[in-house]
Amino acid sequence: MAAFIIRRLFQSLIVMFFVAFVAFTMFRYVGDPVNQMVGIDTSLVQREALRERLGLNDPFIMQFGRFVLKALSGDFGISYQHKRPVTEMLLERFPATLELSLVSAIFSLLVGIPMGVYTGLHRYGWLSRFFMMFSLIGISLPTFLIGILLIFLFAVQLQWLPSFGRGTVIEIGGWRTGFLTISGLKALIMPAITLGLFQLTLIMRLVRAEMLEVLLTDYIKFARARGLSNKAIHFGHALKNTMVPVITITGLQIGSILAFAIITETVFQWPGMGLMFLQSIQNVDIPIMAAYLMMIAFFFVLINLVVDLLYYVVDPRLRVDAVKAHG
């Protein structure tokens, strides 16, 4: 078991190293950071001096090596644009992104599963048809468009919800939360729906398909034959068995929620890491881009590691093989 974890951790490190390498290779094509750091009046000599000070004239390998060495000690350098340590900036933005992702994931589960169950049970009901049509919209409309539509409906026309930002936040031990104020919660609604809509439709369709399949199995027929109530059959037996793939998909979708958060955060000016990343691309702020990509890579690696470990725990065959290999 320990050997397995160590091996996996070692592989994770290799993956992150490659992400860093690929990211660094791409940075050569995103433009010149120096032009974004100085005003247009700044002379060529001064620009060249700045480029030299930043070490941008050094060979690629040297720049990369310097980055890796520093990153190993947790130092991602100082933002070209904001002149502040990147690690500190990411930590500052992390709560906003996490709260948004969390709420949208919960939203998509809480709404998606009942909708899926309903459409599975009442295949030809008019409400089911409506849900299915709605899910098509959710899957086919791009995130930014959904966000803008929501803004124009609920912020401009009805004026119920704020169109941007996080509202009033309260700081608890360095964690800025929007959960504790009315304006913070109101500000969370539209971004969370925008971000969660795609996951919602995905989960709904998944649950529906699984339900349809499970309802045809022998043990459900047997349960009916035994005269169990519909409620017990649908929720006690059928739904329980559809949950396994839903959990797997939800876990894997955490990564894509983080990725889609970039767009949602930009539309709603949500002060999270995604917004910061997008701005850093426009400004060629290499330290922020590098740190963000490393962090996302780390998340993915972590999620996959956890999934692998869960398989290891759940699936006895893996354990047997490991023993054989060592034995």
Binding site: G31, T42, S163, T266, V267
Partner: protein, 525 residues
């Protein structure tokens, strides 16, 4: 006891209600944030504009952009190379420290340190001398009639505060640590920074001890950057913010038709123009080999005549532009009325191309930014379509500014035909003549002249213009220099893009043509 508590609570509640009734909170948004609160970190319009509400320089500009006294009460030119500034007495910084000559010496010294992007403050300045507590002399290398022209954004910091907080020099990205002045400010200006979260929110409150009489009626100012155009417009329409800029040109109509909001339009100082490589013997991007068609003035004139600027104004800019005849905004040069733009004439353009030896036209590559100026990429696309009608096939490469500037600017200087915008920081023609129209040379002349255009007479006039103090003579020399460059079609000026701000009707404010927003002109009704 209970009663006392209840009474106290009631009083506080009444106090709260009362104070909110009095509070005039002004909320506004811009498409980005100031990069830093350090006044020497970046020479950029928005950063310096926002800081202009907190910090002040020796001079400032009024709503019509005229230079007026600020921290210097008065000044005189003692001898051509020595300017004497009498400082305003009784001014204090936001932390209560007194303002005096030491702060001026410190701030101008800081402006030329490594890491400062405002070395322009010290251009032509040889040394700064303290005469007494409230008198400072600036000694210049040559006579410089426009010494104060670029100083409205050369802000004065408190020497004691800066040094005791480790902000004695501007933030250097290579140092690897944050400078106190990046997120804290201590100026003498009309507003005090209460809190700041970069890219999220900046809260200001009025400086009660400001030396000047406040003309605003605000009690609090909340600034939020909103990057997405649609969201920024929505925030104004929904009434969450009182003012925002820039308004995307396609949304001006919507803002105006909405009840209670309107757009404020005005000419901006920035001139958008096209440049043609006249330096290389063979263009980098063209099917003409062995020679450079742009070296022929007839080709350049043909390009000028082949572009229908009125159509660009109407279709691309939705009337939010002023077609330009010169490389400077007409409001910055007194004799600009003597110049007019030649009318659109595609037939004549074709003739000129045929005369120059290109009856079938030719191909040329064009570089264009797509997120720097108002509708920049669309302008370039229109130019491509118009030039196609006179036979020139333009291959357009439109890129984000980060890639675009890296490609076209020196040292790479990798372009044949490009679109650029320029605002002279000093609002004076010398800046344009030196940086854009001057022949490129090692000493910095023509550093943003990517065409390689060079005319000895223009350079000679430019040098004289810098040191001539007689305004009439100076203007005549400027006129002559512009005349030469217009006759030779050194560049292809397109237009001055328009300013588009928008606000609630209940807000009154002044729009400055340099696109800087001075909150001390805002009144909420």
């Amino acid at each position: 006891m209970k009663k006392i508590v209840a009474t106290l609570m009631l009083i506080t509640l009444i106090g709260l209600v009362f104070s909110t009734a009095q509070a005039k909170t002004f909320r506004w948004a811009f498409q980005g944030d100031a990069q830093s609160l350090d006044p020497h970190s970046l020479n950029e319009t928005f950063t310096l504009g926002l800081l202009g509400n907190v910090y002040e320089g020796l001079v400032r500009r009024d709503a019509d952009l005229k230079i007026i006294p600020a921290l210097a009460a008065e000044w005189q030119v003692v001898e051509p190379t020595r300017w004497r500034f009498k400082l305003r007495q009784g001014v204090t910084f936001h932390n209560g420290n007194k303002f005096n000559a030491d702060d001026v010496l410190f701030s101008y010294g800081r402006a030329k340190m490594e890491g400062s992007d405002l070395t322009k403050c010290m251009a032509t300045v040889k040394e700064v001398l303290k005469v007494d507590e409230y008198t400072v002399d600036f000694v210049t290398t040559t006579a410089n009639p426009i010494l104060t022209a670029e100083w409205s954004s050369c802000y004065i910091m408190d020497k004691e505060w800066s040094e005791s907080n480790g902000a004695g020099s501007p933030t250097s990205v290579t140092e690897g640590k944050e400078n106190h002045a990046t997120r804290h400010a201590n100026g003498t200006g009309p507003f005090v920074v209460v809190s700041r979260e970069t890219d999220v929110k900046t809260v200001l409150k009025p400086n009660k001890h400001w030396w000047d009489t406040a003309q605003h009626n605000l009690t609090e100012v909340i600034f939020t950057p909103i990057g997405s155009d649609a969201t920024r417009v929505a925030a104004l329409l929904s009434g969450e913010i009182d003012m925002m800029y820039p308004v995307p040109v396609q949304d001006i109509q919507r803002v105006n038709s909405n009840e209670g909001t309107s757009a404020m339009l005005g000419p901006e100082l920035r001139t958008i123009f096209l440049g043609m490589d006249q330096a290389r013997d063979e263009l980098l991007y063209s099917n003409v080999k062995g020679k450079n068609p742009f070296k022929d003035v007839r080709v350049r004139e043909a390009f000028m005549l082949g572009i229908n600027i009125e159509a660009i104004k109407k279709k691309v800019m939705r009337n939010l532009s002023a077609p330009a005849a010169l490389m400077i905004s007409p409001s910055l040069f007194t004799h600009s009325g003597q110049f007019s733009r030649p009318a659109y004439n595609p037939d004549r353009a074709k003739e000129l191309l045929a005369d120059a030896g290109y009856p079938e036209g030719f191909e040329v590559g064009m570089d264009c930014p797509n997120n720097r100026y108002v509708n920049d990429e669309k302008i370039c696309q229109a130019v491509v379509a118009m030039l196609a009608k006179v036979g020139v096939k333009v291959n357009l490469l439109a890129q984000p500014k980060a890639q675009y500037f890296a490609k076209v600017l020196r040292p790479k200087w990798d372009t044949s035909f490009y679109l650029l915008g320029w605002t002279p920081g000093s609002f004076d023609s010398w800046n344009v003549l030196y940086n854009i129209l001057g022949g490129p040379s090692e000493d910095g002349r023509g550093k943003f002249n990517l065409t390689g255009y060079s005319n000895a007479r223009v350079d000679e006039l430019t040098d004289k213009i810098l040191v001539t103090t007689d305004a009439a003579k100076r203007d005549e020399m400027i006129r002559e220099a512009y005349q030469i460059t217009v006759d030779e079609h050194a560049y292809l000026p397109l237009h001055q893009q328009g300013l588009a701000w928008s606000k609630k009707d209940s807000v009154s404010l002044k729009q400055r043509a340099d696109n800087q927003f001075m909150i001390y002109h805002v009144n909420l009704n």
